[in-house]
């Protein structure tokens, strides 16, 4: 292989190789070239996304750590803080779904651990192709098994997440894992290496050849050859991770660590060079001291191996014996593999000889590419939508059942039942609500978490979709009574070197940034996953937001479930009231809606955009009503519109609903299509329920807002005057079908639909 073939095979371009030559002032050897290749991959170096990411606001009164560390940190109160981050494991999961998902969970847990926090909650955002395809069913089943297999064993509850199915993800599933950790504010750990002569200790499992060039793999499109890269996928051991967690937390508690860093993408290379670069020091790694799992490994293999369940710690020389003894107590490896040096290089030493030496700051300084933002032609084509061209259904009972049975709207119970969501005994609101809520032992406080993505919306309107993604998360937290404080994101996109891909990336980021500004919710950590393309084309642009919120009194929360018979159900809306002025219901609410996709098989039209100021005002109102104990039932209206949201609330509480008694909705609609009324989607809308004797107080709180009474809870039927009349059991058997198609199930009620 000549030089050009070598660097091309490692994923470096001609200009990048020239830059390496320029920075080093000489030709790199293969080991050094490998270091640059992994550190300058998109996954580690953010070379296509860095300038765009600057648009996100990063500051806020609660922010203790913004982007640039292993995870962001926000203050909760009473001396507690939350560390959190979401990260993708899309490419490994496409090739080896069980291990890909499992190690995605393991990796994000270590990011949180590296901040010194105890990991206390996991969430997962998933995307797959339609379940009608065998391969997609396999990927879905194994990814869920992998998440459970790892998370359950490691003892961190999986408390939330979301999943969607669309042809855009066939062959390129998305697996984004989020972890949240709890930490005392005085215990914050950083990854900055300091103190010349301090020791670098490798903790955890032995190093093998698994995951070599995984970061480069993650920064390329998936092709037929990807299957042959199976060896790139790492294998997880949750037992080893559990011991690593307990050992690291003990080391922190005993104050034995100068700094701590997880080993993720690009292994020791990435961790050591980042620790050195941020500390402004150098690190010598004695590569021959790294405990190996396999014989005959080259130095470069040991340096970039992505073997799981490992951490790198910097410690004072005097603490060596204590640190190694604790590692032994927890049954994990602990080996001094290097030392902090003054020279500023990441230096690889084998048997006393320097086999590679690169200034750490150069590894951390990946080139930056800015592309032209050109509006794709497809956007105009798919924006055209004429509701009148679609036949109006005549049986809305059937339509609602089909909606509720569709894999995108069906109950997620068959998924989260496979995840231990209660270990740790902190879970106050379990999966199935708008957001998960956990308590902080020893305080009255709690925190809430949600992950949200709106791929279809981002595809149809990248900027509006970006806004809507953040708005969805804001609503979900508001619905449980939490004050949203910060977010992390995982930007899943196609190839940024293609015009359409870059436009989607730039515009979604712009929309998200605007929503973050409007809501006052900063971005404190994140991850990009680009090149999500297969021969079938790119995925939907799918930024996933993981937002966290704070509850000052965790007992003051709400869920979507109807709690009592006879409660009044009221809609809060950012537009003129729905029922009072029914003719205002316009067909354009169905543009880009779930109804259009599920019932009519169309993904088109411009979804209605949120008014961000109104979104915030409504969210803040709902939260205040929950805090003042005026309401304990709240749910936002999202995919599937009012009818689906109401049905979800009835099912969650096991109590029926009757829409304004005897009103004949069809007549009241005065010619407006009933499907737009039932299934129309737009942001900033909530449903709340409360006992009738609170109506005066509720009206007082709602002054200045658009709202209307929709009906009352009660009985065992779900009725929307003249349009829908179904028993709760009918709704339940549609909605709660197993998503994994066990014998006896109707696989994806959707397949039967047009």
């Amino acid at each position: 292989m000549n030089v050009q073939e070598t660097y091309s095979a490692l994923g470096l371009s001609d200009s990048e190789y020239d830059r390496v030559l320029e920075l080093l002032g000489r030709a790199p050897n293969f080991l050094e070239l490998s270091l640059f290749s992994v550190m300058w991959s998109e996954h580690c170096g953010y070379k296509n996304s860095r300038p765009l990411l600057k648009r996100f606001p990063n500051d806020g009164p609660r922010v203790l750590q913004g982007p640039g560390e292993n995870a962001g940190i926000v203050e909760v109160g009473d001396g507690w803080a939350l560390a959190f981050k979401v990260e993708s494991h899309n490419h490994p999961s496409a090739v080896e779904p069980y291990e890909g998902a499992a190690t995605g969970v393991g990796g994000i847990i270590r990011d949180i651990l590296a901040m010194g926090a105890r990991p206390v909650a996991l969430l997962d955002s998933l995307r797959f192709g339609p379940l009608g395809e065998e391969r997609n069913r396999y990927l879905f089943r194994e990814v869920v098994r992998g998440i459970g297999g790892y998370g359950n064993a490691v003892g961190v509850p999986t408390v939330g997440g979301e999943v969607e199915f669309s042809g855009a993800y066939s062959g390129n599933p998305l697996v984004n894992a989020m972890c949240v950790g709890l930490i005392r504010t005085e215990d914050l750990m950083r990854s900055r290496a300091t103190g010349e002569g301090n020791l670098v200790v490798l903790l955890g499992s032995k190093t093998g050849r698994d995951g070599i060039h995984g970061a480069t793999f993650a920064s390329d499109e998936l092709t037929e050859e990807s299957e042959s890269k199976r060896s790139n996928v790492q294998v997880g051991d949750p037992f080893a991770e559990k011991m690593l967690i307990e050992c690291c937390l003990k080391l922190l508690e005993e104050d034995l660590l100068v700094s701590l860093q997880d080993l993720g993408a690009a292994g020791i290379t990435s961790s050591a060079s980042e620790m050195a670069a941020s500390g402004g020091v150098g690190i010598d790694i004695q590569v021959d001291r790294i405990p190996r799992r396999e014989r005959g490994m080259e130095p470069f293999e040991a340096m970039i191996s992505e073997s799981q369940e490992r951490m790198l710690a910097v410690i004072a020389p005097d603490d060596e014996a204590k640190v190694l003894a604790l590692a032994e107590r927890y049954g994990i490896g602990g080996t001094v593999v290097g030392r902090v040096a003054e020279h500023g290089d990441l230096r690889v030493i084998e048997n006393g000889e320097i086999v590679g030496s690169v200034p750490a700051e150069h590894l951390a300084d990946a080139p930056v590419y800015e592309h032209e933002v050109v509006r794709p032609a497809y956007l105009d084509e798919i924006a055209a939508f004429d509701l009148e061209s679609l036949p109006e259904p005549d049986d809305y009972n059937e339509v609602l059942l089909k909606m509720l049975a569709h894999p995108n709207l069906r109950s997620r119970r068959s998924i989260y039942r496979q995840y231990d969501h209660e270990v740790g005994t902190n879970t106050v609101i379990r999966p199935g609500a708008d957001a998960a809520v956990m308590r902080i032992k020893g305080t009255n406080r709690g925190f809430a978490m949600t992950t949200d993505g709106r791929g279809r919306h981002c595809y149809l309107d990248p900027r509006g979709g970006g806004e809507a993604t953040v708005a969805e998360a804001y609503r979900n937290l508001s619905c449980v009574g939490a004050e949203p404080v910060a977010l992390t994101n995982c930007l899943n996109f196609g190839n940024p070197e293609k015009q359409d891909g870059y436009y989607q990336l730039a515009e979604c980021i712009q929309g998200m940034a605007e929503a973050c500004e409007a809501f006052g919710v900063p971005v404190v950590s994140g991850n990009v996953s680009l090149y999500n393309e297969t021969v079938r084309g790119p995925i939907y642009p799918t930024p996933v937001v993981g937002m966290v919120g704070v509850l000052e009194d965790v007992t003051r929360h709400a869920t979507p479930a109807f709690e009592r018979e006879g409660d009044m159900v009221v809609i809060i809306s950012q537009t003129p009231p729905l029922a009072r002025e029914l003719p205002l219901v316009k067909g354009d609410r169905l543009s880009g809606s779930g109804y259009l996709e599920v019932i009519h098989g169309q993904v088109r039209g411009l979804p209605s955009t949120a008014n961000l100021a109104e979104e915030k005002r409504c969210g803040d109102l709902v939260r205040d009503m929950i805090r003042s104990r005026l309401i304990d039932t709240a749910h936002d209206i999202s995919e599937g519109g009012d009818a689906v949201a109401l049905a979800e609330m009835a099912l969650a509480g096991g109590i029926g609903f009757d829409f304004r008694g005897e009103v004949d909705v069809r007549e009241a609609l005065r010619g407006v299509r009933a499907d737009a009324f039932l299934f129309g989607e737009m942001g900033g809308r909530y449903l709340i329920a409360f006992p009738e004797d609170r109506w005066d107080d509720v009206q007082g709180a709602l002054e200045g807002f658009a709202y209307d009474w929709l009906g009352n809870t009660g009985g065992r039927r779900f009725k929307i005057g003249g349009l829908i009349d179904l028993g709760l059991e009918d709704l339940k058997s549609a909605h709660e079908q197993d998503l994994f198609g066990l014998p006896g199930d109707v696989i994806g009620g959707a397949e039967a639909v047009g």
């Binding site: 037992f239 039942r417 231990d420």
Partner: protein, 220 residues
């Protein structure tokens, strides 16, 4: 009263159990797997989790841990022991309880709330309950399918040693068994997690009906 909680490598409900002991008003004691010492515990909880990564079989390796020696002695002496989930599996592997826990018949991990009925109050861990009392308790397991041969099952039933029974069987357990006790009645194993419903802020403290039972009959 001191209540010990064993900690094996891979236990992950140990901290939850210790917290529940505090809520019970007893003194929690950590029992590290490598130390053959129960530290004067008056009762012992063997908590859930994945001891030794569930390698080989759930509970199979934990039974050889150093702490198991004094625990077996404690059991023989009539000391109250409860194994929860993986702890139940450990106690079966150690032959302190009869039977075994196989993979759930539906082959999937199951995390849920289930209804169980208290079948006997003649154990230190159910003495504060009523026979026939129904509790809603969390489960979270992949191997919770209780199995024993017909003869053993008949004995368990005859000797009133089925402690908890599922109202809706979530895992295929023989005779809907959710928990059993030893011949001496002092060792109890249950698949549901009482410690997970020990605090009203989590929506229920029904698990305290079980855990607090041991306080009444404390050997001091």
């Amino acid at each position: 009263m001191k209540i010990g909680v064993t900690i094996f490598p891979g236990s992950n409900c140990d901290r939850d159990a210790l917290h529940a002991v505090e809520l019970m008003g007893a003194e929690p004691v950590e029992l590290w797997h490598a130390d053959a010492d129960l530290k004067d515990s008056d009762a012992v909880i063997v908590p859930g989790g994945f001891s030794y990564g569930d390698y080989l079989r759930p509970g199979a390796i934990a039974r050889f841990a150093a702490v198991m020696g004094p625990l077996e002695e404690f059991a023989r002496d009539g000391g109250p022991i409860i194994g929860v989930c993986n702890g139940f599996q450990v106690l079966c592997e150690a032959h302190l309880l009869p039977g075994a826990l196989l993979q759930n018949t539906h082959m999937r991990f199951a995390c849920d709330r289930v209804r169980v009925r208290v079948e006997t109050t003649d154990t230190p861990w159910t003495s504060g309950c009523n026979v026939g009392e129904e509790l809603t308790l969390p489960i979270a397991h992949n191997e919770g399918n209780y199995f024993a041969d017909a003869e053993t099952l008949a004995r368990l039933e005859d000797e009133d040693r089925v402690v908890l029974r599922y109202l809706e069987n979530p895992n295929g357990s023989a005779n809907d068994i959710a928990g059993v006790c030893s011949e001496g009645r002092n060792v109890v194993g249950v698949m549901p997690h009482p410690e997970r419903v020990s605090d009203p802020v989590l929506g229920s403290d029904e698990g305290m009906r079980i855990l607090r039972s041991v306080l009444a009959g404390a050997r001091v």
